[in-house]
Symmetry: C2
Subunit: 388 residues, 2 copies
C-alpha cells in the first residue's frame, strides 16, 4: 500500500534483447543497453566470458543446441547475435516459433556461407573478385589458368580474423589446403591498394543508414587499425561504397548491422567479406560517432528509428590491443593515461593470450598523423614488453 | 593443459571498485567500468534497484550496517559511494581496516553535514552566504534581524533535491520547520541571478581537473536542465569558479569527484551545496566531454591519472526526465528518435513515479537555442501526456 503522500510508482516493462554469444561485442552492446534502459540477455558458454562478466541476465547454453536457443529466446522482444555461428536451421526454427530474429536466417546465411554470399552478390551486381567453388586440385588449377596465381582459397564456412583464408602461390600450397577437407571457394587474388569497410544499419521497416567509409589496416589477417573517415577518399567514391553496402543490406534483407569489407583497386571497390553484427571496423563509433554501432544495432533489431551516424570529430582512429607475453595490462594504464589524457581505453576483461584481441583504444582529433600516433603509442604501451 | 599450438592464456586481475548504493549514478558508472575493464561491485538494498539490474557483482546489504559494509569492502581496491548517507564512523572503520575509501570520512563529512561544511568553507575563505546554526525561533529571529527575511532553513543532514530546504518568509513558517525537530542551519537568502555548478576531480596523489562551469536550471528544487558551458560566463569568471572548486577539493582533501553548486550574484559566486560523487550536473559529460564524470570518478578513486575534461561539442544541454502519469516511456522512444536522430536518451530502469528522476537526455550542437529546444522537446515527449 502506498502512503497517501507518495504517488504510486509503476513498473515499466523494458524491451528485452537476447544476444547469442557473450564476447566483447555483446559486452560493448551492454554499455548501449544500459543507456537506453534495454534489458540485454546473452547466451554464454561460461560465466567467465567477456560479456557474461557484465550482464546480469546471462544464460548458459550451447548456441548449436536448438533447445538451449528456444529456452534463451523466451520473453525476448528481439533475438540477435554476437557471432555468426548459429546454425541456419536453428534460426529458422526460432523464427517459426514466432520470435523476431535479426538478422533473419535468409540474410545471415550470406555471412555464414561464402558460396551463398558470392552467388547472391554476383546476382545483384555487387562488385566481386572472380570466384568459383572448388572441390579438388583440378578445380583450383582450372581456376588459376583463367585468373592466375596466387589463388585465394577460403573455407566456405567458419573462417574469421584471417583463419580460413589461404593465399596459395602454387598448386602444392593449394594441395595442402585441400587436404584439410573443408569445403572451399577459390577467389582471384585482388591486387588492392588498401582496404576499407562500410558499416550500415537497416531496420525491419526498411530504414537504412551508413556510417562514413573507414580504412582498415590488417596485419597477419587481423585488423590492427581503423581510420575514420578513410583518408583521401573522395566524397563521390565514398558515396559509391556506401551505396554498395546499403544495396547489399536491402537486397539481402539484412536487419541490424551489416559490415561490408572492401578492397580498393585501381578499377574500383571489390567486396571482400560481409558481417551481420557489430564489427571491429565500427568500434571507433563508441566515441567517434553520435550513435555507436552498438546502440544502432539495438535500435535496428527493435525496429526503432536509427540514430545519427555523423562523426563527433574530424579524425578518429581505433587501434586493436592484441595480447602480449605479459598479461598485466592494468599496470600499464597509469603510463598510457598520464601520457594522453584524451585517449579512450577499452579492455574486454578477457584472459590475455599473445596475439588475441583483448581490447582497443580510440583517439580523436583533427590531425591524422597525430591521432594515429596517439593510438599507436597507447596500444604499444598497453601490450607491454614483447620479450617478457 | 594447453595444446602446443595454442599459446597459454593468462588471467588478469581486474581492479575492483566497490560503490555503496545502487542508484542511477552507480548504473552509469558501470558503463565506464565496462570500457576500462574494471570490476564494479555495488551494495544494494534490493535487486530491483537501477544499478543492480546491470551489475553482476551486486551485494545486498544495509549501508547503515558496519558488518554489511565490511563484508562488502572485502577484496575491493577502492570503496566509494553513489550517495552520501553512509555514517561517518563506518567510513572511518573501513579506513581503519585498511580499505582505500574515496572520498574519506574527513572529506565526505562536508557533504553530509551542512554545519561542518559552512564552518570549513568559511575557514578556508570560500564564498558563503551569511549562516548560523539555529536551535529555536529566537535564533532564527536573531539571524533575520541581521540578514532579513526570507531566511533559508536547511536540515543539517539528509537533504537533497530540494528536500530539507525551506525558504521561510515569516517567523510562523520558520516555527513550522522548527517543529519537525531536525537540526537546522539558517542561511541568508541569496538574491541570485542564476545557478552554476563546477565539477572537479581530485585523485589521492593530488592531481586535480575541472570540467567547464555549467549553468543549472532548477524547478521546484529539482535540477531540470544543465547547460554546458554556462552561457555568457566570461573566461575569467569561469576560471574564478573553477579555482574555488579546486581549492575546496584540495583543502577538504576530497578524493574522487566534487560538485560545487554556486549562486551567481551581482557580487560574485556564493557556494550553495557540495556533493562528493558523480553528480546530476555532470551527466552531460557522458557524450559531451572527452572523459565522462563516471570514468573520471573511477580513475580518481583508483589513483589513476585523470582524463581530459574537454568538451566534444561547443554546446551541450542535459535535461532531466521526470516521471509523468503514464509510465510507458518506451512506447515514446519511437517518436523521439525519429524526430531527432542525434538526441541521446538515458533511461535508468527505475519504476516511474510522477516527478521522480527516471532518466535524462543530452543534446549536442553549436547553437544554444536549438540545442536547448531539442533537449526540451525530447524530455517533454518522453514524459508523456501530463493528464494521463
Amino acid at each position: 500500500m502506498n502512503s497517501p503522500n507518495v504517488p504510486p510508482s509503476a513498473p515499466v516493462t523494458a524491451p528485452v534483447v537476447g544476444m547469442v554469444g557473450a564476447g566483447q561485442l555483446a559486452r560493448m552492446t551492454q554499455q548501449a543497453a544500459i543507456a537506453l534502459g534495454i534489458d540485454l540477455r546473452v547466451l554464454a558458454n561460461t560465466r567467465d566470458e567477456s560479456a557474461a562478466k557484465v550482464i546480469v541476465d546471462t544464460r548458459l547454453g550451447d548456441y548449436r543446441d536448438l533447445a538451449d536457443l528456444r529456452e534463451f529466446a523466451k520473453g525476448c522482444d528481439a533475438v540477435t547475435f554476437d557471432h555468426e555461428h548459429v546454425p541456419t536451421e536453428h534460426i529458422q526454427a526460432l523464427a517459426a516459433d514466432g520470435h523476431a530474429v535479426h538478422p533473419g536466417a535468409d540474410a545471415l546465411v550470406h555471412a555464414q556461407d561464402k558460396g551463398v554470399m558470392r552467388e547472391r552478390l554476383t546476382a545483384i551486381g555487387a562488385p566481386c573478385p572472380a570466384w568459383a567453388r572448388v572441390e579438388d586440385l583440378a578445380g583450383v588449377e582450372t581456376f588459376a589458368e583463367e585468373h592466375g596465381w596466387p589463388v585465394v582459397l577460403k573455407a566456405v564456412r567458419g573462417g574469421y580474423d584471417g583463419r580460413g583464408v589461404w593465399v596459395c602461390e602454387t598448386p602444392a600450397e593449394a594441395r595442402e589446403v585441400l587436404a584439410t577437407g573443408v569445403a572451399l571457394l577459390a577467389e582471384a587474388f585482388v591486387p588492392f591498394e588498401r582496404e576499407v569497410a562500410v558499416l550500415v544499419a537497416r531496420s525491419p521497416h526498411g530504414q537504412g543508414v551508413s556510417y562514413p567509409v573507414v580504412e582498415t589496416v590488417q596485419k597477419d589477417g587481423i585488423c590492427v587499425e581503423v581510420i575514420a573517415p578513410a583518408p583521401g577518399l573522395g566524397e563521390e567514391e565514398a558515396a559509391v561504397a556506401q551505396r554498395v553496402a546499403l544495396t547489399i543490406a536491402r537486397d539481402l534483407g539484412v536487419t541490424g548491422l551489416l559490415a561490408v569489407e572492401m578492397f580498393v583497386t585501381k578499377s574500383g571497390f571489390v567486396v571482400n567479406e560481409l558481417a551481420m553484427r557489430p564489427h571491429n571496423s565500427g568500434h571507433w563509433t563508441i566515441e567517434g560517432a553520435r550513435t555507436s554501432q552498438f546502440e544502432q544495432h539495438l535500435r535496428a533489431v527493435l525496429d526503432l528509428p536509427l540514430g545519427s551516424p555523423s562523426m563527433t570529430a574530424p579524425v578518429v582512429v581505433m587501434a586493436n590491443l592484441l595480447g602480449g607475453p605479459d598479461p598485466d595490462v592494468y599496470s600499464r594504464y597509469e603510463h598510457v593515461m598520464a601520457n594522453d589524457p584524451g585517449i579512450k581505453i577499452h579492455f574486454y576483461g578477457k584472459d590475455v593470450r599473445p596475439g588475441r584481441k583483448i581490447g582497443h583504444v580510440t583517439a580523436l582529433g583533427t590531425d591524422l598523423d597525430e591521432v594515429r600516433a596517439r593510438a599507436h603509442h597507447a596500444v604499444t604501451c598497453l601490450r607491454g614488453p614483447v620479450d617478457a
